[in-house]
Amino acid sequence: MSSEIKKTDLLVVGGGAAGLSAAAEAAAYGASVIVLDSDLHLGGQLVKQTHKFFGSKDEHAGTRGFKIADILMQEIEDNKANIKLFTNTTAVGYYKNDSMVTVMHGEDEYYKIQPKKMIMATGAQEKMLPFPNNDLPGVCGAGAVQTLMNVYGVIPGKRVLMIGAGNIGLIVSYQLMQAGVDVAAVAEFLPNVGGYWVHAAKIRRLGVPILLRHTIKAALGTDYVESAVVQDVDTGECENIECDIICMAVGLTPTNEILWQAGCDMRYVPQLCGHVPLRDPKLRTSNPDVWVAGDAAGIEEASSAMVEGRIAGLAAAESLGLNINKDKFDVYHARLDDLRRAGEKIRCGLAQVMIDDWRDQ
């Protein structure tokens, strides 16, 4: 452990869509900001997305995900006098009494950061299904497959079985085909496709079957996946699908360890896909020095994560006593309302964790 303590106005944990937006926003008003990311690169999930985003023009609709990451990085660069970026660096502990955060760089270098304020933009991690041999090499997360092929240009395998027809399952199936990999099928337990129709249409046009009301019963193989047993959950009928990768796209759950450590009042909200902190409209949690933004606040998508990052960054700058443009809150809240207009599930989830004003508590 190094005895050095890095001091900063604002510590942003997570350098993805929400974290970079938060850092850029706060730094533009003069806050000194440190951004940590456990990965080797910044941009989070944005850098793996080859498709053009929907949503609104303000959040770069019509632009491919990895290009949006470039735009955010340029904004960070424009404010670089106020922002320090640390990759391959994980926040591993929060000590509330002296607001100290311990971080780990790589595998064996530890040091401390003492921020005045913190924004937790830790994103999400993938869920898993229980089935025999689900630990066999070749069974992997959809995000992992994306990283392998879209960040590092490595061919993941020869033939992939995708589990889950939500947006991630559909998008990654299409991305696999862009990378020249055969997709055997997409199996989806629900009776309907969960993701956007346009993503489903793209892979159906390329001849990939979407097997609704089907799930994985087992992975087969000795040292590595050789095939999968897929079962029709209504008839019980099984079929063996040859594949060397079983890609799990069965949902995400907020990454919330550091929020628990910070003592934030947490709730389990199924619509937000896990335990999330209570927050006020400016995204402040029950810990007055801690804000939350992006998937860590509830699984949604990158456009709303970027707006939430803006709100949290603006609010943190405000509480640091900086002279912010308060009208921006209304602008950002209007954008969020727009993005969530069709998101009944999200709105229902958020209603369970939104506090009007912490002073009333």
Binding site: L40, T90, C140, Q178, D223
Partner: protein, 108 residues
């Protein structure tokens, strides 16, 4: 021969310098500062460790340093998260069997 994507309709990959490393004594090549796990996958390696109790093979799974599936012995140090550990020239990467043991000459 590294298994890399040669043509992509959208993405261009700017891989860095090729460096040599060893995996279980075999010479391999990978790109400097990319995660060890990616280099191994490109070299066709699928088993990264053998579990302590059930002796089951484990490999690439989450790629974000969270799941512990890709723990390996790197330059003698066990339990290294190879999916977030940058590859360097001359690294000695080994399949981890069991929990691994901490090298006795380790500092700190």
């Amino acid at each position: 021969m590294l298994q890399l994507i040669k043509e992509h309709p959208i993405l261009r990959f700017s891989q860095g310098k090729l460096v040599k490393f060893s995996f279980d004594g075999k010479d391999m090549e990978g790109f400097e500062d990319e995660p060890i796990a990616m280099a191994l996958h490109a070299n066709g390696v699928r088993t990264y460790r053998i579990t302590p109790a059930m002796k089951r093979p484990r490999g690439f799974f989450c790629a974000i340093g969270k799941c512990s599936s890709c723990f390996m012995v790197v330059d003698g140090v066990p339990n290294v998260r190879t999916c977030v550990m940058p590859l360097k020239e001359g690294m000695k990467v080994e399949t981890q069997t069991g929990k691994g043991s901490i090298p006795m000459d380790a500092e700190g």
